[in-house]
């Protein structure tokens, strides 16, 4: 454990980072947060003077892809600096301490930085059977989460697991896995969905909180607006093909090779809020659409339960058989059409058979 007055800057200097790369990191982060050019210096100033923000990183039911994404961020300094910032306190996956030593750090942070530490949660707690499906340090994870959340300043819900539930909460959800905001209701929760979330989004968020000492503006669904206010579709580099009406029709057709829009192949870009088309993963290497596959919609609620990844419409299971809206609608319209036709035919027959009744009436006066 380091002292409360230790700054972010002193930590990274001790680790051998140059001042030059520190400033590179500051300007890169300012840019990715969408702040003006002057913000870089205020970020630098904050990181040099403000006490380091203690972060506790817990792991529930998860696959560690958030951590994996995080350590592959574009700028090496982001990884090193922020990992030192976090691992110095607690992250059971990458910290040196283990067992009772590690658990002691939790208690220490909880007491020493009461109300001042950020609780980052990767994964989520299963609630069924008293939370027995995820045991951490000999206790159900949900208990650890509740006790650490109690004294925290805010909670960061890393990834789709913590934000929405992800695959372990997909139907029928046997373990009763629930997103963080269903378990902790009295603390501000920042959702950083994505499976995994983008490294620069994660580091940018932590830097923002450190720099400004407050939480960023959140949108209606609790996500930081600076990274989740636009859909992938809005910034997609294939967007011009969408507007032009140029679509990939088959996976191996000419249009796929030309890099046309993947909308018809079920791309979830138009319904997914994430920064993937702007920032991409693994140090800006790629994202699904760039690799020729539609977006998965991994940062959206219940993305495992929305039917095929290759279909634009959600599967509707209420009708017994799995159909989508168009199939159901077409069938309904067909049934209605046939009924109308049959009814018209009966009306016609009725009228014809009734004619003899009326004919005498009409013919009588003549």
């Amino acid at each position: 454990m380091s002292g409360a007055t230790e700054t972010f800057y002193s930590v990274i200097r001790r680790q051998g980072m140059t001042r030059r790369s520190f400033h590179k990191f500051c300007s890169l982060t300012a840019a990715s947060l969408g702040l003006g050019p002057l913000a870089a210096s205020s970020i630098a100033n904050a990181l040099e003077t403000k006490p380091r923000l203690p972060v506790i990183w817990l792991h529930g039911l998860e696959c560690t892809c958030c951590s994996e994404s995080f350590i592959r961020s574009a700028h090496p300094l982001i990884k090193d600096a922020l990992l030192s910032m976090i691992s110095l306190d607690y992250d059971d996956t990458i910290m040196a301490a283990a067992g009772h030593q590690a658990e002691a750090i939790l208690e220490e942070t909880r007491a020493k930085y009461k109300g001042r530490y950020v609780l980052a949660v990767e994964g989520n707690p299963p609630l069924n059977e008293g939370g027995m499906f995820c045991i951490d340090g000999g206790k159900p994870f949900v208990e650890k989460l509740r006790s650490m959340a109690e004294e925290s300043m805010a909670i960061i819900a890393w990834g789709t697991c913590a934000s929405w539930g992800c695959v372990q909460a997909a139907k029928p959800n046997p373990t009763g896995a629930a997103p963080i905001d269903k378990v902790i209701t009295n603390k501000p929760i920042i959702k950083v969905p994505g499976c995994p979330p983008i490294a620069e989004v994660m580091s940018g968020l932590v830097t923002f909180i450190t720099t400004f000492g407050k939480l960023p503006e959140l949108d209606r669904q609790g996500r930081p607006s600076m990274f989740y206010s636009e859909r992938i579709h809005d910034k997609c580099y294939r967007r011009s093909h969408f507007d032009a009406g140029q679509f990939v029709e088959e996976w191996d057709d000419e249009y796929a090779r030309k890099g046309y829009c993947l909308y018809k192949m079920g791309c979830k870009g138009p319904t997914t809020y994430n920064a993937s088309s702007a920032l991409r993963w693994n140090g800006g290497v790629s994202f699904p659409i760039q690799s020729g596959h539609g977006g998965f919609g991994c940062s959206e609620d219940g993305f495992w339960d929305k039917g095929s990844f290759y279909d634009r419409l959600t599967t509707i299971k209420q009708f017994g058989i799995e159909e989508n809206a168009d199939q159901i609608g077409m069938a309904a319209a067909g049934v209605v059409g046939l009924t109308v036709a049959a009814h018209a035919a009966i009306t016609a027959v009725k009228r014809m058979t009734h004619k003899p009744d009326r004919a005498p009436h009409k013919s009588k006066p003549s």
């Binding site: 009406g245 919609g297 609620d301 219940g302 993305f303 309904a332 319209a333 009228r351």
Partner: protein, 169 residues
């Protein structure tokens, strides 16, 4: 669709037609609501269904019998008959309201979170956080309108034909 993306705008025009139609529908629907307020008693029919009145259900029952060829005479009244009123309210008024709301919510996603469309209709995404669901329901809504239009136009033509002395049959 071949050629450079910069030289084509087909889907853009399709989307433009869709959005324009949506605006025309919305403004027309607002006008219809206004008409319901200042128009005659029957102008209110498709917004106001007295489900709790016994005589209402008696008339509905009569209309069902009329459409099932079980009675010779339809209740002759000006405006919608009771069954039609029921259908108009549940199939048309409610569906159009739903389509206008979800339509503007989805439009707001493209227009941006600062747009008035998103500010006014963004609450839809508190009900369905994943907008893919809203897309799906918006699709299904269209099919409800298709089914409604089929029955509606048929009923109008049939009514005309049967009342005006078999001019169409």
């Amino acid at each position: 669709m071949s050629g450079e993306a910069s030289g084509n705008f087909l889907f853009g025009y399709i989307r433009f037609a869709h959005f324009s139609a949506g605006y025309v529908l919305s403004i027309g629907f607002l006008l219809r609501i206004y008409w319901a307020l200042i128009g005659n008693a029957r102008a209110m029919q498709i917004f106001w269904v007295p489900l709790w009145r016994k005589c209402f259900w008696r008339e509905v029952y009569h209309e069902i019998r009329w459409y099932a060829f079980l009675t010779v005479e339809s209740e002759r009244s000006i405006g919608h008959n009771r069954l039609a009123q029921l259908a108009m309210f549940f199939m048309f008024t409610q569906t159009i309201t739903f389509m206008v709301i979800t339509g503007f919510a989805l439009y707001g996603q493209g227009a941006g979170t600062d747009s008035w469309q998103y500010k006014l209709f963004g609450w839809v995404f508190s009900i369905w956080p994943n907008s893919q669901d809203v897309h799906t329901w918006h699709h299904l809504g269209l099919w409800v309108i298709v089914a409604f239009a089929l029955v509606h136009i048929y009923a109008v033509v049939r009514e005309d034909a049967c009342r005006a002395g078999a001019s169409l049959l």
